[in-house]
Every structure is written in C-alpha cells, then in structure tokens.
C-alpha cells in the first residue's frame, strides 16, 4: 500500500502543467453557463478555437472569447492542462462540469455547480463558492479556501437518496451552507468551519467531517455513511439511538480527535440504522443526559 501511495505521489509531482489563463473582460451581471471551461475541452486546441467555444450569457449565445481574455497554451491532453481564472466569477456556473483530468485554479469567487459530475482531476478555489459545489461528483478533488454554499456534493432536488456524490474528496477550509452531502453515497467531505442545518441528509454512504459547529438536524434520513461533528450541535434527532463512545474516528483523508458519542440511525430512513453519527463529547455537554441510555443498555447485556 505504502509503495503504491509513493508511486502515485511521484506521478502527481511529475506532471508539468501547461497553463491557460482566463480573465473576465467585464463585470458579469447575468448568469453565465460555462460548462465548456474544463481541461477536457481546452486540451489540444489553439487559443482561437478556445475563444470560439459556446457560452450562454443569460439567454444569449456567445463565445468564450466574447466574455474572457484568454492567454497561454493548453496541453495536448486534459491531464497536463491547467486553467487559471482570475477575477469575480460569482455569476459563472458549471465550471469544470464532468471534467476527467487536469487542474482548474480559480482566484476569486465562483458561482454554482462548480465541478458538477466531475470524474477526475482537481479544482482549487481561492475564494467563495456558490451552491452545489461538486454536486453528483464521481471522482477527483476539490479544495476551497473560502466558504461554500448549500448542498456541497449533493444530489439535485427531487432525486432519490444515494444519487449525490459517489467518490472523490471535497475540502472546504471555510464554512459551508445547509445540506452538506445531500444524498451522497461515497467519497468524503471535510469542512474546517461551521455548517448549516441538515448535513448528511438522505446519505447512503461516504464520510462528512465537520470541524466546526452544526446548526442542527445532522444526518436526517441517513441510512449509511458517517457524519462526524467536532463542534457544537444544538440537539440530535430523536430518531437516532446512542450506541457507543469512541476516542478518534477516521474521516476520509483525516483522523479527527474526540472523544465522540456514537449514534446510529436514522431509524425513519432504514430500520437497520446503517448510518453513523459522531458528536464530540467535550463540545456538547448538554448531551450528557443521553449517557444514561448507554449504561442501561450495557447493564442489560451483562
């Protein structure tokens, strides 16, 4: 395993990215659908060809060259292509949709559906992100150095549980909004800051690690996977059972230190209670009364 990891790291280091730089020509006022901004479409194209790629600005069809200044040269394949975008992109949606390899670096705020359905490669954002960051993601890595909106790695509205994120990693160094990991069935999401309500709603697998506080209702309707909360939680849903106490827990790439109460549930989603909810003991003294249920169960077993 260790050897494999080393090899993988070496391979990653070896890639020499060829860079394409984009800069908005004007401050955007209407939403822009820019699913063409990804290494897969840029690779092997000349700058003129890239400038001709179609983009919708509101309901008007335009080209990428109309909206962005484009410099640099793309690599021959998606793997060694890096796209750097500087400026305020908070109106630009669907960047990196379905990308399979390469890298996107965004210096500024960015809009909704960043890395939607992405399969590989990496995205780095030095700013805030809109809704559905990495929604329905199937692989790759996203790192955000600002805050993220609602439904990180989530399934779309109305979709069945388990249709969200399947694989890959999302790391958010700021805060995240509501419904982090909605309907996810694999992969991991780490949030360094606080999150809104309902992290892990409809979850069927994967890991969510929250180092800050949660606004409430963690793991509602979850039937698989783990939600780990190191900070405060106002309360745990009544459809969860307290099961155990754990010292540390591995959440995706990180090991979070506890100790934690272990809850199983959500019994309303699945009677088998496949979901695991870990809530920090030191940050949540108000959950202490629940410990009585722990001991009583243990006594019965004896």
């Amino acid at each position: 395993m260790a050897e494999k990891k080393k090899k993988k790291e070496e391979a990653e280091v070896k890639i020499e990215y060829k860079e394409v730089k984009l800069r908005p020509k004007v401050a955007f006022t209407v939403p822009i659908e820019a699913e063409c901004i990804k290494p897969d479409t840029f690779a092997g194209k000349s700058l003129d060809d890239i400038a001709k790629l179609p983009v919708y600005e509101g309901n008007t069809r335009r080209t990428l060259g109309d909206l962005f200044e484009i410099e640099g040269s793309p690599g021959s394949a998606a793997l060694d292509t890096m796209i750097t975008i500087e400026g305020d992109l908070s109106k630009v949606k669907r960047i990196g949709e379905g990308m399979t390899a390469g890298k996107i670096v965004i210096k500024g705020d960015v809009g909704h559906y960043l890395g939607f359905k992405m399969k590989g490669g990496s995205i780095e954002v030095h700013g805030n992100v809109g809704l559905w960051l990495g929604g329905k993601m199937k692989g790759g890595e996203i790192v955000v150095f600002g805050n993220a909106g609602d439904c990180v790695g989530g399934a779309l509205r109305g979709e069945l549980p388990g249709k969200g994120m399947k694989k890959g990693t999302i790391i958010i160094h700021g805060n995240a909004g509501a419904e982090v990991g909605k309907g996810m069935s694999g992969g991991s999401i780490i949030v360094d800051g606080n999150v809104g309500p309902l992290p892990g709603v409809d979850m069927r697998g994967g890991n969510i690690g929250i180092k800050g506080d949660c606004e409430g209702k963690p793991g509602a309707r979850m039937a698989g996977g783990r939600v780990v909360i190191v900070g405060k939680v106002p309360s745990v849903l009544p459809s969860f059972y307290i099961d155990d106490v754990r010292e540390t827990i591995k959440t995706g790439p990180e090991k979070l230190a506890g100790p934690f109460y272990v809850f199983i549930g959500d019994v309303l989603a699945d009677i088998k209670c496949g979901g695991r909810l870990f809530v920090s003991i030191p940050s949540n003294p108000h959950l202490k009364p629940l410990e009585t249920f722990l001991t009583s169960v243990a006594d019965e077993e004896v």
Partner: protein, 568 residues
Amino acid sequence: MQLLIKNGIIYDPMNNVKGEKMDIAIKDGKIVPDTEVDPKKAEVIDASNKLVMAGGVDLHSHIAGPKVNAGRVMRPEDHYRVFMKVVLGARRSGTGKTTPSTNIIGYKYARMGWTTVVEPATPPMETRHTHEELDDIPILDKACFPLFDSNLFVLDYIESKEYEKLAAFIAWIMDAVKGWAIKIVDPGVAEAWAWGKGYGLNLDDLIMGRTITPREIVRGLCKANEMLKLPHPIHVHCNRLGFPGNYEVTIKTMDAVSDLYTGQERPIIHITHVQFTGYAGTGWANLDTGADEIADYVNAHKHVSLDLGQVVFGDATTMTADAPFEFALYHMAPGKWAGSEVECEAAAGIVPYRYKKSNYVNAIQWCIGLEVALLVKDPWRVFPTTDHPNAGPFTRYPEMLSWLMSKKAREAVLSKINRRAAKKAILPTIEREYDFYEIAIATRAAQAKILGFKNKGHLGVGADADVSIYDLNPLDVDPSKEPEKVVKALKRAYCTIKGGEVVVKEGEVVKHLYGSTFYVKPRVEEDLFKTMLSEVEPKFKAWYSMSLSNYVIADHELRSAVPIPIGS
C-alpha cells in the same frame, strides 16, 4: 386556406380505404371533395410514397388536471434533462419527460401525428383546473372524463335505486363541468378510503359506510349512461387494480353489465388499462398472465372494449384516482408519495416508478399488455395506449406500435427481459402481427368511433382536417421485418395537419395554435331535472366547501368550448 395532399398512400378504415393512392383536399378546416379546391390557389403537399392517415386519437392519457400538476411539482428530477427550446415565431419552451409541461405535451403529440387526446380522470369539483390546463395545451383537440365512482350524489341515488334521477344528475354534471363521458375508478374505493378502508375492495364487497357494492355502482352508472345515450360507454378502471389474481375481477366487472347490452353498435363498457387488471397468480412471486382469459371473454362478447396501458420500460409516474393502491405501491417502491382527497368525490395518489427489464413483475406486465392486444381478434375494440404517464410516457407510442407490428421487434425485447418471465409468458407463442390497416384502426378510427367523435379518425368528406403524413412507404416497407424503420417514421411525422393548418413539417413543430374542448350536453326532462336539482342543492350546501354557483363552469371560461347536444 386551401390544402391539397397529393399522391399519398392512404389508410382510412372508416371509409374502407386500404393503402390506395389518392389526393385529399382541405378547405376551411374540413376535408372536401377534390373538385372544391382550386389547385392553383391551394398549398400542395407532395405525399408520394408516404403513409397518410387521419390524425391520431388517444382516449386515455393523463395530460391535465390537479394530479398531473402535483406530479410535476413533486418530480423536479423528471425535468432536468428533457426539455424543448423556444423557437421564435413557431413554438414555446417546456420541460419534462413523464410529466411534461403543457406546451410540450401538445408539440410532442403533434410531432408523432396525434391530434386528439382525452384526459380520462378529473374530479368534477377540480375540473375547472383541468380545463385551465387543457386550454393551455396547444394544437390538440381535447375532452375530459369526470369521475363518478365515489360521488356523494351518485352513491345516494344508487343506494335508493333512483336511476332516472342519477341520469339527470350525470347530465347536469356533464354540462356543469364540461365533461365527455363517465369515468369510474375502482368503484367505491374513494368512499371507503375516507374511512381508512377500501384497500383491495372486491366487486361484491360492501362499501364501508354504505349499503351497496361496487357491482351496483358499475351497473347503476351503466344504466344511466345508456339512458342518456352518451357517445362514450362507461370508462371503467376495475377493482383490485394492481393485485395479483385480479383478472377474475376484470371479467366479473365486464360480465356485471352483460345483461344491459341490447345489441347496439357500440360497446356499453370500456375497460381501461387492462394490463394493470390482467394478473393471474396468487402473489407477486408467482404472478402470471390473465391475458388469454380476458381475450377469450372479449372475443365472445360484443359489449366490451379495452385499452392496454402497455408498459414501456423506463421512467414512469403512476398517478390515479385509486388512492389506496398508490399508498400500497409507495410501500413497494419507496421514495416519494403524494395522496389527496377531493371532498365527496374522489381520492388520488401519485408515486414515481421505474419499470425495469430485469424485474420479473415488470417483465410480466410488459407481456400482458401485448398479449391482450394480439389475442383480441377485433382491432376495433382494443386500443394501444400507455396510460400516460402510468405505464410510460406517450412519447413511446412508436415503439409500442412496432411491437404490435413485428414479432422480430417483440423477440428483441423478449431476449433482454427477465428470463423466468419470458418463459412463463404466452407472448413468444403468438404469431399475429398488426398491419398498417389495423394500426390505422386501433390508433385512429376505432378510438374516434368509441369516443363518439364523428368528425375525427377518418378522412372522408366532412371530417375535420386532421391528417398525419409519415415518411414511410407502407407498400414497400415490411413492418414485421423492418420495425426500426416504422419506429423512426412514427416518431417524427413528415407532416401533421390540424384543422387545415400545417403544424408539423419534417418532424418539427412550425406553428403554435389551439384546438377545441368538446363536451356533451345531454337533454333530460325538465321536471326530472328540477326535482333532481332541488334534492342536490340542500345536500350540496351541507356537504361541499364551495357554493353551487361557483361549481358550474361557464362556456366563456374555456378557450374554445364545443358543446355536442345528445338525445332529445
């Protein structure tokens, strides 16, 4: 506006035209003799080597109404990927696959060559909503069937055996809410559901809170229907729909009214989506086909007609006014469920569903529909539908028709479905294949005839100028050997003409216009009518949350209402 369709190969079963090369002349929205159209002034459509039929008619497709709208609201995931873009000057935009928005319902039907569609279930109280939506559907001509199975007044009159007053009440409702025929959904169940009962109610079980059985409701409404001489027979969704072993109930329901048949030309009972009520076996694990028994009964009795509710594999949204069944289905297919009750009238439910080839039950369901269609010998009494969107969206009609027309196409699907189901089914042993003439009967002539639309479904002089032209030479192409060609041609009509206007050209909608809504105006004796109203009014005041004057829909509320007076 004059149109001349030249050299088309025409199939017109009502006028016994079977693949003949003819011209069709159209003037002012009607089909006229060739001599009346001036070839120099008229727009000429060259239809040489092309299949020409009347515009398609669909007598059972849930296209409008409160439950269709609720289905749209609860299924956003149905609308992400399927959409139609706006084309300025030609058409508007829309989204949705199994629960499409109103505009693309009209466009997609027209693109396949269909021009008349009927919404088959609407609670009378909420029919104003249904008409609002029907009015918003472009191109098509429409009608709707109000629900009568659990109506407070209907049950009261049947309980007291006052069938004449029942007929008068039905006549009043038809006029008040602009309906076309009597729809019966799982008779008595909505009434029992109000008590929390009614799950799996059988034909001879007593309805909770009443002293009658579903059999009496079917018979009573059939009697009233024949008294009023409404154009369409009672449209029945049988009891115990979706329960294994329910084919017996279906046959019993058909038999319950057999003594009321007096030899008239049109059947007196229409059993709808018979696939859902044609299951043999005692449980889901040993589900079997009851198609042969049903087909035998229909072949031996002239008072019955059927439509299929053929399953097409893929996404569907089940929505029906059979609330307890939907509640049961929700437990079989966990996910979302919606249920609602309309005071004193009906109860409905919605569950999204996906039919899978690998699933034993779904595979058997797919077989049953086709078996019924192929085993019933008279194409004038069995109509291919998918009960849109219950067994699949209407956009899959071309595939369904190709299965009827080609054993090869059926075998291609049979080889992919659940093995155990394929072994158990009768379908592989059936050799029959529909030809273009039978398709023209089943999708046009027969459906227009059973609905009682005299100007639809044929191309004779005086008919409405609803014509569909397909880019397919029926004399050259053998549908049994080249089903894919048939599917391709039927999916996008070469040209669709609605009311004398070209609405579809080479598979694309080129014109946005609105059709009419038909409703019946039965006449009853004035004294009887007054007595009935004097009985209904106080009860209405006591039990309904709205006033009687608001209940009645006026003609001006519809975009284009066409009353058809019935009887004398």
